[in-house]
Symmetry: C2
Subunit: 299 residues, 2 copies
């Protein structure tokens, strides 16, 4: 590989090389009419003026892992934060902090993965920023995405205080796949396992669930990422005067994930997931919502 | 200083210490009713559904400099990107990538500075994220802010193709103050100068200018940050078939900034500014707009 193929500090100075990089790696991949105006900001139109707004930084190591990469994760994570708030995600911004020395081919593969994920989720990447930092000042690449969208029901906020005694907790699939896939490619855990990250946009599933039942029946939803299911349920019950009972034996998990937990001492309930959904709902809608989950590719 | 006062990896794992950090350093400082719902997303209401959306990552070294800090810069930069697009900035998200070992007091000072800047600019910090990376994996602190707001005139996009032969270029003040202030505190340039960064939100100034003249009279606006005035003017003329003539001798700059340019060989026209505005306008509105700039504290 020649110097031409890696990121240098000059790619970050705002001049000719910065413009070339942005064109070659980002705008040509995220190609859409809003992005192409290329001003300092994107001008977008939403359905209405009740806006859900969320941001997340992604610092995953390594950049590529079984079932995904930092780009897929960066779009998925922000789409899912909007989805579990009861919104239809529409537009995404992406800001890249790149360490000097990163291969331009890798960046391009990551932006292509972001675009593919955005298409799958029905969102557009409309604005962004690129910074380059000196070798040793960042861990290859950090991506921060921010998303906006409209609420499906204008006046419905999913929050812990909606929960009632007797409500059900639904979980959309096996736990721990994401963390396990990352561990499998980190050199400090040379595990011979083939777990694939569950990284996937949940907005199609959440929209189906929301539209299927009376709007107060879903109390709160969350994607149990960093901190896992245990942290999510803790956040739900914190200060609301209720407790949530789960039967550990009934929590679904893949055999190899179970094995990794036994080997390493990790607690399945604290492992990160990137394509799972937790829903607290009224008991009478539990079967219907579970049926929708079962019939969905991500359920 | 004890271990209790610095950021550790445990502050980033999504558990108890993460919640404490967010509460102690961020939500207690950015305190507002929207933020306090503390879901995965903020739910905000804008005036209408034509939304301007922009993002920027801030990687400045050192974190504190004469006239500002990374927090002030992170709010100002995003406010200014919205302002020069012709929008009224309303809501900001802030995502923090923190290197293990950073002092919590420093983080708190930075978030206080963000809050003060947000108040001055009339925007609210409503959602955010915090990640902690291992020592050596980031340069102390990176902040990514994303902003949304409404256009002052719904159907007006300020873009290079609006420019006409004979238009005037207005500049709101002296160039190079920001870069010079940063150089003065970097150890590789032990310069004995007292230049203060011009870092300031421009949205009050841009709104006054926009509202003062017929809406087509202002063709394009930009804050000449990274890459300086030269890069901004280059972006304006690129591909629009016009050229911009400037008289270098008339470009205002402080004596010490001039001296630094002579000593270091830096070109004033390429130095970064964080509180200056470039406006291209119809010739007949030039005096009026210049008058407004002169009467404004930032002009």
């Amino acid at each position: 590989m020649t110097d031409k193929d890696i990121i240098t500090l000059a790619h970050g100075n705002g001049g000719f090389l910065t413009h070339n990089l942005i064109k070659q790696v980002f705008t040509s991949v995220f190609d859409n009419p809003i992005l192409n105006i290329q001003g300092d900001s994107a001008i977008v139109k939403l359905e209405d003026n009740n806006i859900v707004f969320t941001t997340d930084s992604f610092v995953i190591k390594p950049l590529f892992f079984p079932g995904g990469d930092i780009g897929k994760l960066a779009v998925t994570g922000t789409v899912n934060d909007l989805a579990v708030s009861g919104a239809i995600p529409k537009y995404i911004s992406a800001s890249f902090i790149i360490e000097e020395g990163v291969a331009i081919d890798q960046l391009k593969a990551i932006s292509e993965s972001m675009q593919k994920t955005a298409e799958n989720a029905g969102v557009k990447i409309v604005t962004g920023d690129t910074k380059v930092v000196e070798r040793g000042s960042a861990d290859k690449l950090f991506i921060t995405t921010t998303g906006i969208g409209n609420l499906i029901y204008k006046d419905t906020v999913y929050k812990p205080s909606n929960m009632r005694a007797g409500d059900c907790v639904l979980l959309s699939g096996t736990l721990g796949d994401h963390t396990t896939s990352i561990l499998s490619v980190r050199s400090e855990y040379p595990l011979k396992i083939n777990t694939i990250s569950d990284c996937a946009p949940l907005n199609d599933l959440t929209e189906r669930l929301i539209r299927a039942v009376p709007k107060e029946s879903i109390r709160i939803m969350r994607d149990p990422t960093r901190g896992g299911l245990a942290t999510t349920l803790n956040e739900f019950t914190n200060g609301c005067g209720l407790s949530i009972e789960i039967e550990e034996a009934k929590i679904p998990c893949k055999q190899e994930v179970q094995a990794v937990c036994e080997l390493t001492g990790f607690d399945l309930l604290y492992l990160a997931n990137e394509g799972k959904l937790v829903v607290v709902c009224a008991k009478e809608q539990c079967r219907k919502l579970l049926g929708i989950m079962h019939s969905h590719p991500l359920g």
